[in-house]
């Protein structure tokens, strides 16, 4: 080795800054946010952060569109380009996913920025012991952690890189970059702080545990293929050299790391606890952007690296998809907390999207892309409504407190009912279109039993969605019923965007379906 260096054969690597500019912008603004925290006086921080974060996400979205419409990138029917010396792929599915993440992150940041019905959803001083004098001082002083904005930006940057990573090490780095800020954000709730800190702790421990599996899987795959590049692993797998035991065990462990992030059964344990404990805006961010990003990475790994091994991983993935759909729908029935209910609903939906992934075709990919975008909007909207129903202790999360909401706040209850119907997949909502698309792709891929299980669990799931609707509209409110606060423009915008997207994608899904199928037409770049 030293001989080659001495002889000067080393060529300087190159980075395609223009193709990576959306991610670079997000990371750069995250770093800038840290500087704001360091040097700007406390009262001016929030405004500057809002400009940086919302403006940055919007600008990154515009840049994503610019990259996606670049002629040179897709010249001669190229599927895309592998940038940064093979570390980052820039292709149409990735750009679609990144665009989706940026839009959803924008809406989530609107929720994070809400400050009308409390000072904020976030703690005054995360380090102060719950119930201590320090905490009271912080609350009375009306301060709040504005670090959430740079943290969110770091997480979003990691989410953008995660599905774009073309080698497993980059993917691992992206996974950590997206996870670490989220661990922190989970523990920053202003109310019910012990629950929040417990959630952060659980998420961190289990996340670290799954990262270890992921890393171990990478090591095994490296041992098999001699490379961490996804295309190199695919090439080695098809040339049938090396130990299949290494390959398959590596596949299983890398898959586990990814399935953990999407919350597939039996790696879902963290999801209800964390979704419940985390500040609701952060839950919205995790339920939309993180899921989209993790599915993006899952799709890339299983389509690119393990594309030839479909017959090996399909039975196991079938089992996981069935378990995820059924368990998510079943356990949700007996939940009494709105956020936990939505968490189990999110698990069930992960199962539905998995049926699209398993198809391993362009149709499956495009259906999954559409479902992710549609579901993201609906779920942010639903969590946004959760932040509005409050009692003196904060959000009124227990379902019994939601009884009779339709009689006192018909608009809020109606909007929530609409989101629930979308989750249930009622026609003329985006949920129906998305389910229809993934099930269609799964049937075309020969997974009829899977679709039957999917439809059955949809029916079970519909039961508890409708139960909540019945509870809201047909029972009498409790005497200590929570009040619905009037949202500021931020939360209103998030709710309205959720409703509009859910309606439009249900009634006129064609433009986005077309975009998704165009994005998926050439699959991923290798």
């Amino acid at each position: 080795m030293s001989a080659t260096i001495a002889a000067g054969v080393i060529t300087p690597p190159s980075i395609e800054y223009s193709q990576l500019c959306p991610m670079l912008l997000v990371f750069g603004l995250a770093v800038a946010g840290v500087l704001v925290e360091a040097f700007v006086p406390r009262q001016a921080r929030r405004g500057i952060h809002l400009v940086l974060t919302l403006g940055g996400l919007a600008a990154a979205f515009v840049l994503t569109i610019v990259v996606a419409s670049s002629k040179s990138l897709f010249r001669d029917h190229a599927a895309g380009h592998v940038a940064a010396m093979g570390a980052v792929a820039v292709d149409r599915p990735t750009l679609f996913i990144q665009g989706t993440i940026l839009v959803l992150a924008f809406v989530s940041v609107l929720l994070i920025a809400e400050s009308s019905h409390d000072v904020s959803s976030f703690a005054a001083q995360a380090a102060a012991i719950p119930g201590s004098a320090e905490e009271r001082e912080g609350l009375l002083a009306g301060i709040t952690h504005t670090e959430v904005y740079p943290l969110t930006m770091f997480a979003v940057g990691g989410m953008l890189l995660f599905p774009a990573a073309n080698d497993l090490l980059t993917m691992f780095v992206a996974l950590e970059v997206l996870s670490l800020p989220l661990y922190l954000l989970c523990g920053l709730a202003r109310r019910r702080r012990l629950l929040s800190q417990e959630a952060a702790m659980k998420y961190f421990l289990l996340g670290a545990f799954s990262s270890a599996f992921f890393l171990f899987g990478i090591a095994l795959l490296y041992g098999f293929a001699g490379s961490v590049r996804l295309s190199a692993i695919a090439a080695a797998a098809s040339s049938d050299t090396g130990s299949t035991t290494l390959l398959l065990a590596g596949l299983a462990l890398v898959g586990l790391g990814l399935l953990f992030k999407i919350g597939a059964v039996p790696f879902h344990g963290w999801k209800p606890d964390v979704y419940q404990g985390a500040p609701t805006p952060v839950t919205a961010l995790m339920a939309s952007c993180t899921v989209v990003s993790a599915f993006g990475a899952l799709l890339r790994v299983f389509y690119v690296a393990f594309g030839q091994l479909t017959w090996d991983w399909r039975p196991a993935m079938w089992t996981i998809a069935i378990l995820t759909m059924v368990a998510g729908a079943l356990i949700a029935i007996t939940q009494t907390d709105v956020k936990r209910l939505l968490a189990y609903s999110s698990i069930a939906h992960a199962g539905f999207i998995l049926t699209g992934v398993i198809a391993a075709t362009a149709a499956g990919l495009s259906a999954s892309l559409f479902y992710l975008a549609a579901y993201g909007f609906t779920t942010i909207g639903a969590f946004a409504v959760v932040t509005l129903v409050r009692d003196p202790a904060g959000e009124a999360a227990h379902l019994s407190q939601w009884a009779g909401l339709g009689k006192r706040s018909p608009l809020v209850a109606g909007v929530f009912a609409f989101f629930l119907l979308a989750f249930a997949g009622i026609p003329l909502t985006s949920g129906f279109t998305g389910k229809f698309a993934v099930f269609q792709a799964a049937v075309a891929g020969g997974a009829v039993p899977l679709v039957i299980v999917g439809v059955l669990s949809s029916a079970i799931a519909a039961f508890f969605y409708v139960r909540v609707i019945v509870l809201m509209f047909f029972s009498d409110p409790a005497p200590d019923a929570p009040s619905v606060v009037t949202p500021s423009v931020f939360t209103s915008a998030a709710v309205v965007l959720g409703v509009v997207a859910t309606v439009v994608l249900g009634v006129v899904p064609q433009p986005l379906l077309g975009l998704a199928s165009h994005a998926a037409s050439q699959l991923f770049v290798r």
């Binding site: 659980k202 398959l248 065990a249 299983a252 462990l253 079943l330 029935i333 007996t334 939940q335 064609q510």
Partner: protein, 652 residues
């Protein structure tokens, strides 16, 4: 003939739908804020649609005859796999004829309603419903596929329900609205089954797609398709056996009766059959069904109309009868499609005119509907009487008026079908013409001529309780007066249409030739005057004389005389409701009781067991979620082990 994409002014044809829809949304969601100017917006919306419809119509005329079919693709709805439904609009001679009728006559009725509903506190809501109706009806006729048509069809049904029950504080109105809705559901079921059958057979519901592949299907499928469509048409058009709702639907405000139950909605069935002409041409069974339904209904409606004392119900019977004529014509195939549409358009004018005239009379008579309490109103309401008289001359087919040009050819065409069936159908149509002349003469004589029976307060009050329909006795003597200008002008315009529309449409077979691209040219274009047409005219004159003998020469008793078997039967709608009750409702009740029993014992048992199982499983599974990180980690670890094991096993 091929359909090409719409260009020019037709490129924005969706505006036609958008105007009334916008009006409906603003008026219904705007609430009381829009009360002050709501009716103006309500009138402007159909007028704008009419203007745009005219523009599209003239644009269509500028194309050569073979190219008069323009399609406007709006958007695709879920194009997944083989399931492709796109929402689009088809502009051809047939649909645009309907557009002009709906928006033209509709606008006049809107204007009339401004005056008619002036004293109603809910006038804005009324206009919102009217606009909703216009939008749905336009969607029905403009859609380029059966699914879009079905959406409009249901929208029309909804608007009709809302309008019939507009005065929902009257129990009779509420019940009538429900009855109309339910009777329509039966027909709608037929239409939806037809659409499903279409999709199963042809894989598409587009008009062009279905018609292009219609000959591939077997005769059985085509007959089923035709009969199911006929069932749908019967529901909407109040034809036997689904006729019973129309008479009760007269509970709605009179402009509604004019707009929905005379001029436009009830003609939707005729539109459906003429639009589906390719399907009916391929099945003689379905065609025969249409002919029989039409012939029977035209007699049925005529007989009912002869016996009713309620002016609106008599007109409703007349509507059934006239639409029977249209069905009969449409059932005759290419020879009759153009004739059916011709009568439909002319009927739109004169029947709307008659209804608005009846409304004007009621307006002046304190909402009295019993003709036996009218009489001698011609002097007091000269304009109403004159316009009503012109429409009267039109409907009974006096030469020179529009009924003569549009109805007599149908009688001719029925006879020229030939054979026993032709003779039977023709005879029915001929008798129908006589009946029409009789009941219309009776109506005119009882309303506008003779003694002023409303002056006999005591007699009317005493007899009031015994009467059918509105049982309330008037508390004071009515002061009949002419209606305001805003109500009179629509009637005058409609009267012009009643007089001239027939001649305009029939001269030189103008309408038949115009529609030919859609309905194809009949083998032998029917003449305007033929031997049977003259026979019909003669019969009509005899009936007029008979009516005068019975109601003009003698005094009309304020209380209906007992009458013969047929009269009693006709007063009871020829036992239509009794038939429905004994044949459909009673067995239906038995069926529902049986199914409730089965549902409680069988289905609910199953469902409850399943629900309990699911709930139990949920409760047990929930316990796995302990909240301890260690157990989650353990689950993950075992999951990992199983995953690795399973993957390795697959390769073994």
């Amino acid at each position: 003939m091929t359909t090409v994409a719409a260009t020019g002014v037709q490129h924005a044809a969706w505006l036609m739908l958008a105007f009334p829809l916008f009006g409906a949304v603003v008026l219904l969601l705007g609430g009381r804020r829009t009360d002050r100017w709501g009716h103006l917006l309500g009138v402007a919306a159909p007028l704008a649609a009419f203007g745009y419809g005219l523009a599209c119509f003239f644009a269509l005329l500028s194309y050569p005859a073979a190219g008069r079919s323009r399609d406007l693709h709006l958007f695709s709805w879920i194009p997944v796999g083989g399931f492709r439904v796109s929402i689009g609009m088809l502009m051809d001679p047939l649909s645009l004829s309907f557009v002009l009728l709906i928006t033209g006559v509709g606008s006049l009725i809107h204007i009339y309603s401004v005056g008619y509903m002036a004293h109603d506190t809910d006038r804005r809501r009324f206009f919102g419903y009217l606009n909703l109706f216009i939008a749905a009806m336009l969607l029905l006729v403009l859609s380029d596929n059966y699914l879009g048509l079905y959406v409009g069809w249901e929208g029309v049904g909804l608007a009709s329900y809302l309008l019939i029950g507009f005065w929902q504080f009257k129990p009779t109105a509420a019940v009538a609205a429900k009855k109309a809705f339910i009777a329509n559901r039966v027909g709608d079921a037929g239409l939806s089954l037809a659409i499903m059958l279409m999709f199963a057979t042809f894989g598409t519901v587009n008009f062009s797609g279905v018609f292009a592949r219609a000959h591939e299907a077997g005769p059985g499928v085509m007959a089923a398709l035709g009969l199911l469509l006929l069932l749908g048409a019967c529901g909407k058009s109040a034809q036997l056996p689904l006729q019973s709702w129309l008479l009760d639907a007269m509970e709605g405000p009179t402009p509604v009766s004019a707009l929905i139950h005379a001029a436009t909605m009830v003609t939707a069935g005729v539109y459906l059959i003429v639009r589906s002409n390719v399907i009916f041409d391929l099945s003689s069974t379905a065609r025969l069904g249409v002919q029989v339904v039409g012939a029977v209904t035209l007699l049925f409606g005529g007989i009912i109309a002869c016996a009713k004392d309620d002016i609106k119900k008599s007109l409703a019977g007349s509507t059934m009868s006239q639409i029977g004529y249209m069905f009969l014509a449409a059932g005759l195939g290419p020879a009759g499609y153009g004739l059916a549409i011709g009568l439909l358009l002319a009927h739109g004018f004169f029947k709307a005119n008659l209804f608005l005239g009846a409304g004007s009379v009621m307006h002046g008579m304190d909402d009295e509907v019993n003709m036996r309490r009218y009489g001698g109103l011609a002097r007091l309401m000269p304009v109403t009487a004159a316009t009503f008289g012109l429409a009267y001359l039109a409907i009974i087919g006096i030469p020179g008026f529009s009924g003569f040009f549009t109805k007599d050819p149908i009688i001719e065409a029925a006879f020229s079908k030939g054979g026993v069936s032709g003779a039977l159908l023709g005879t029915a149509a001929l008798i129908g013409a006589g009946l029409t002349a009789f009941y219309m003469t009776r109506m005119v004589l009882m309303t506008f001529f003779g003694k002023r029976r409303w002056e006999d307060q005591a007699a009317a009050a005493a007899a009031g309780a015994g009467q059918e329909g509105e049982a309330e006795a008037p508390h004071q003597q009515p002061h009949p007066h002419e209606s305001p200008q805003v109500m009179l002008w629509p009637m005058i315009l409609l009267a012009i249409g009643s007089v001239g529309a027939g001649a305009f449409l029939a001269t030189g077979d103008r309408l038949v030739n115009f529609l030919a691209p859609v309905t194809r040219t009949p083998a032998a274009p029917p003449g305007i005057v033929g031997p049977y047409g003259l026979g019909a005219l003669g019969l009509a004159l005899v009936a007029v004389a008979a009516a005068w003998w019975m109601y003009g020469r003698r005094e009309v008793p304020a209380v209906a005389p007992a009458g013969g078997v047929l009269v009693v039967a006709a007063r009871k709608d020829l036992y239509g409701d009794a038939f429905n009750e004994s044949v459909l409702m009673r067995p239906g009740q038995w069926l529902t009781r049986l199914s409730v029993y089965f549902d409680n014992r069988g289905v609910d048992g199953l469902v409850n067991t399943f629900a309990a199982t699911v709930g139990g499983a949920s409760g047990r599974l929930r316990k796995v979620q302990t909240g301890f990180v260690r157990s989650y980690a353990l689950a993950m670890f075992f999951g990992a082990a199983l995953l690795v094991g399973a993957l390795l096993l697959v390769r073994l």
